[in-house]
């Protein structure tokens, strides 16, 4: 059922230590990569058709190829470990069980784009995970996988672990760059894109933890081999997290294209006793919910979920039981985005707050019929008009919940005596 490329050795408690990692064949990929032309490494990444695992799904190899070859400026690699999208907890698992895969992936990326300084931006709350990574990085330095002349070559690579301090928006790649520069995590206008003017105005690649951690496999086995897995538009495997009242919540690595209900019922063991599936948020809280009927049609892939009006996002599945109020669920989601809006763009700053306040009123039973129209109006007003996608990420679930559960919303704004 599971397809274990990245997670193959996660059962081994020593795998997270350098010794165990090496025993399991670790750091062979970077050695192989260092023997290849950097462009050839980029080519493998391209061939894999691996789409960025942070949520936006931009082809990773393509991203690497945008880094200018000839430049006087230093180039940077930034690993996005700011995992904060509600319902998402796969990167934390990677850090816990396989930190060296991540470090090796970063080294591969750095070689491919010829960067000598890399950062891991880890969310501030991951204090224990930061310590785990710090230890793994030290091991890698001590054994020549990082630092001056890695793996006995002339290639130098510094890796700096940088802790955030509590702001979801720093997961947005340019918000992350601002934060790394010691500022508020307010996303930048694009263009210029990070590939030309990123960290400290220098060419920068930013990749998610999972994206980088799977790179060693791709280098060892070839991009084409990776692309054989999954579906043509969603190649390879994916770490999928599942939370909510299911029997075995957690993170599973599967081949892309698995039917959603197979995942829920087989891997996660189905709903816990006494609970019935009411709705599924498939890819973190910004992806619109699916009804049980839609869940039957859904596959875990970019294209299948797109077609159903939702998205794969971070593949953090949240299962809602049918006895849980969708009004409460949406209120919680709206609160989150209102809290996390960085506040610079007017539609997002004001719109997220407005959505939350309206949802809160409806949830408190004080809503009015016109509130529903208002929610649609606010959502439409926020979309596509801001610097980054947080406003959209707040509007999508709002529109999705309204579309998917019209009766529940209607009922919620009807005065009790009239129901």
């Amino acid at each position: 059922m599971e397809k274990k490329l990245l997670t193959k050795y996660w059962h081994d408690p020593n795998h997270k230590m350098l010794d165990g990692y090496l025993k399991n064949g670790g750091y062979a990929a970077i050695k192989k990569a260092l023997g290849m032309e950097p462009d050839a490494v980029i080519e493998e990444a391209k061939q894999s058709k691996l789409r960025g695992r942070g949520g936006a799904g931009f082809p990773a190899g393509m991203k690497w190829s945008f880094i200018p070859k000839k430049t006087d400026k230093p180039k940077y690699v930034v690993c996005n470990a700011d995992e904060s999208e509600p319902g998402t907890f796969k990167d934390r698992e990677i850090i816990h069980k396989d930190p060296h895969s991540l470090i090796e992936g970063i080294a591969i990326c750095a070689w491919a784009v010829q960067s000598h300084t890399a950062f891991i931006y880890i969310r501030g709350e991951f204090t224990e995970e930061a310590k785990m990574l710090e230890r793994a990085i030290q091991e890698a330095y001590d054994h020549g996988y990082l630092g001056k002349g890695i793996c006995g070559t002339a290639f130098d690579l510094e890796l700096i672990l940088h802790r955030g301090a509590g702001a979801y928006i720093c997961g947005e790649e340019t918000g992350m760059l601002e934060s790394l520069e010691g500022k508020k995590g307010q996303p930048r206008n694009k263009p210029p894109f990070p590939a030309s003017e990123g960290l400290f105005q220098c060419p920068t690649v930013i990749n998610n933890v999972e994206t980088l951690a799977v790179m060693p496999w791709i280098v060892l086995n070839g991009g084409a081999e990776y692309a054989k897995l999954g579906t043509p538009e969603s190649t390879g495997t994916k770490l999928v997290g599942i939370s909510g009242p299911v029997k075995r919540p957690g993170v599973y690595e599967i081949e892309m294209g698995m039917p959603l209900m197979t995942f829920i019922n087989e891997l996660a063991g189905g709903m816990i006793e006494g609970k019935t599936l009411g709705a599924v948020i498939p890819g973190g809280s910004s992806t619109p919910p699916l009804t049980p009927v839609q869940c039957e049609q859904a596959k875990i892939s970019y294209e299948s979920l797109d077609k159903l009006g939702s998205a794969l996002g971070t593949a953090g599945i949240i299962v809602l039981p049918d006895d849980f109020s969708v009004i409460e669920a949406m209120t919680v989601i709206a609160r989150f985005y209102a809290d996390e809006s960085c506040g610079q763009c007017t539609p997002c700053r004001e719109g997220t707050g407005w959505l939350y306040k309206t949802m809160k009123r409806i949830y408190a039973g004080k809503g009015a019929a016109q509130d529903l129209q208002m929610l649609s109006h606010i959502s439409a007003g926020m979309k596509g008009r801001t610097i980054c996608a947080l406003a959209d990420a707040a509007a999508w679930p709002m529109e999705g919940f309204l579309r998917t559960f019209p009766e529940a919303f209607q009922k919620a704004v009807t005065p009790k005596q009239a129901r």
Partner: protein
């Protein structure tokens, strides 16, 4: 008030690692907050001076990120997740229990602190451990798959 000499040494090392002084601000604030417990106006001034960056830049950052505190907090900072996965698994009941047990009101950003200064109870957004919901963080440590009984035990065992 002054920065500790060992903190100054650590800051110096950070400044050598980053190409720009301001880039060290987040790590420096983490360090300094560890020393002082929270970031007062005076501490912000010290940091600005040490890094040779404008005070406004420090204040903006301190107030933007939830993990920097502008006022003293309890010895144990309980950060209870109230996002969706945890709510689905009963977080609200657990937070109510904590409020009742500690006699304080939970709030987002920074909740109330018990009179004895032992606990601060804050509601936080998703901490990325949804598979083990409901959960909370006490200072640096995550506590997962919580129940009322488990919470009571955790609190009782705290030194």
């Amino acid at each position: 008030m002054q920065l500790k000499p060992e903190t100054k040494t650590k800051i110096k090392a950070l400044l050598e690692r980053y190409p720009r002084r301001q880039a060290t601000l987040l790590p420096v604030l983490h360090l300094v907050q560890e020393d002082f417990g929270y970031l007062s106006d005076e501490v912000e001034e010290l940091v600005a001076k040490e890094l040779d960056i404008p005070r406004a830049a420090v204040s903006e950052v301190v107030t933007f990120y939830t993990m920097f505190y502008r006022e003293p907090i309890g010895k144990y900072h309980i950060m209870a997740c109230h996002n969706l996965s945890c709510t689905l698994m009963g977080a609200e009941k657990l937070i109510q229990h904590l409020e009742h047990r500690l006699g304080v009101q939970s709030k987002a950003h920074l909740g109330e602190t018990t009179e004895d200064g032992r606990f601060t109870l804050t509601r936080v957004e998703c901490l990325g451990a949804c598979g083990e919901a409901p959960m909370m963080q006490i200072n640096d440590k995550y506590h997962l798959n919580l129940t009322i009984e488990k919470i009571d035990k955790i609190l009782e065992e705290l030194p």
